[in-house]
Amino acid sequence: MTTQMDEVWEKRTLGEVITSEKYYRWLLITPLLLTLAVFMLYPLFHCLYYSTQRYVPGRPDVFIGLENLRYVLARAEFWAALRINFQVIVVCIIIELVLGLAIALLWAREFRGQNVVRALCLLPLLVSPLVMSMIWAFIFQYDIGPINQLLLAAGLQQVNWITPGWALTSISLITSWQWLPFSIFVLFAGLRGLPRDIFEAAKVDGASPWYTFRRITLPSLMPLVLIIVLLRTMWLIRLFDPLYGTTRGGSGTQSLDWVVFRTSFAYFDMGVGSTMALISLYLTIILCAILFRYLMKALGATK
């Protein structure tokens, strides 16, 4: 297909040779390749190198092979962090999918003011997660936070939202609040894309609404659900900002990225930090490979 373009252009000068099919596409992509070489390969090899070293600031590095990995895997803190990430991922995705689907179905019709309603609900998506988590920390505050004040006024018990029992739930709620619109509107786009005549046909055949939902709506939304699950999982593996604004890793909320952050930049144990960073990387790259296939399919591109 693309060679047709070359038949039109005859090559004469050096400039035209460079812009010929063979070189042109690589010429266009050179800046990207250079960027990848500097910003991707360098950190990757650096991390690989340090994961095999014992690093103590001010002393020469010592090669210790896989000792760091063994140390990380033996540390309870690491497994606790993984469990926290896993817990937040499961809770957030369930909340976002269930509520997201419910709200998308609710709004999948024409109603007055629909554009304003939808625009208002999209607002949280682009707001800084760090700022939002700090505001939520205020809203959840024990004495002066509006939620507890209202609970008290309603004659209910105040809740200590940022304590070991509640902190993880609070953080899941905060992140879900910010990303629920994402699920709503992805699923909403899916619902709007469904062909009307299938539903008409189902109605004519006397199918119950529940049956139609289970056998037609839900299966056709599955690819979108998968995209939501994959993207959210990848974003939540690097859970960091909401922690900084609320518990700062306290109350049993140290996520994987938080542990890497503390290990590397508070204790300056770069060897162990690099090892854990690499584990975090391996986890995401598997998910990313699956996601990529779906993205390409959705874009209608050939691989």
């Binding site: 690589w26 266009l28 205020f138 930049f265 993205l295």
Partner: protein, 272 residues
């Protein structure tokens, strides 16, 4: 039917309230006096005498203005860099399938990587190169962070431009660069604009690299706001005043780009 409509609106209003109330709460708190913020009891929750003292504090006693400037400089510089690299690359990927998909995968995977993976090596490198706490250092990191996302999103936009158009222009005697300039660019401009706004927003909100790689000179707004969270007390008032100003551009972006937000966040997979 009446009851059904009533329930629909009741639920809709509750949903809208849940999504907007925390945002409104920031603005509300920013115009409350310190005693009113720390007041226990619901009487001062919504009824209070507004004051601008928090904003006064913010501008007089903190580096907020400079932080705003820093954030803007880094956001704009990194976005320009991203566009310079991503637009040609995305064109090459979409037209010539350069690298047979593998290269595109490598590119997008860098966006998926945990940011902390790059943080450790660059902490070493920047210390050696003297790039700590500089605009250039942070710009480079955020450029890298946004580049893969921009390339992939643009890739989707370029795919929407029919190739036949380019071939027709080529047959009409346009050179390769003319095809790009006169045919492809006018069609791709909305896509480029949307991508650029996304990059600006991500850059504006970026926190991990900012907190690790800036101290005072190049400190950004998010890092400055986090500083109100002191070890002795949390200065809610000035923090909310700062947050009100800091989230304003992103709220505007969300309002004006609503058609494209879902497309952007799903890397172009869902057209929204």
């Amino acid at each position: 039917m009446r009851i059904k409509a009533f329930l629909f609106w009741l639920v809709t209003v509750i949903i809208v309230f849940v999504f907007t109330a925390p945002l409104a709460w920031i603005f509300l708190t920013s115009i409350k006096s310190r005693p009113d913020i720390l007041h226990v009891g619901i009487d001062k929750l919504f009824l209070f005498s507004p004051t601008l003292s928090n904003y006064q504090h913010l501008f007089q006693w903190t580096l907020f203005v400079r932080e705003l400037g820093n954030t803007a400089i880094v956001a704009i510089a990194s976005t320009v860099l991203v566009m310079v690299v991503s637009v040609p690359a995305a064109y090459s990927f979409s037209r010539y399938n350069t690298g047979g998909g593998h290269l595109l995968f490598v590119t997008i995977s860098t966006r998926m990587f945990p940011g902390i993976v790059a943080a450790i090596p660059f902490f070493f490198a920047f210390s050696k190169l003297g790039l700590m706490d500089t605009h250039l250092g942070l710009t480079l990191l955020i450029f890298y962070f946004n580049m893969s996302f921009a390339t992939f999103l643009l890739f989707g936009f370029f795919r929407d431009v029919p190739e036949e158009l380019e071939q027709a222009a080529a047959i009409d005697g346009y050179g390769r660069l003319d095809v790009l300039r006169r045919v492809v660019f006018p069609l791709i401009m909305p896509g480029v604009a949307v991508t650029a706004v996304f990059c600006l927003v991500w850059s504006w909100n970026e926190f991990l690299y900012s907190v690790l790689f800036t101290k005072i000179v190049a400190r950004t707004v998010s890092v400055g706001l986090a500083l109100f969270w002191g070890s002795i007390e949390i200065q809610w008032g000035p923090m909310c005043a700062g947050a009100s100003i800091a989230i304003l551009p992103t709220l505007l972006a969300a309002w004006f780009m609503q058609r494209y937000i879902i497309r952007g966040l799903t890397f172009g997979a869902v057209k929204g």
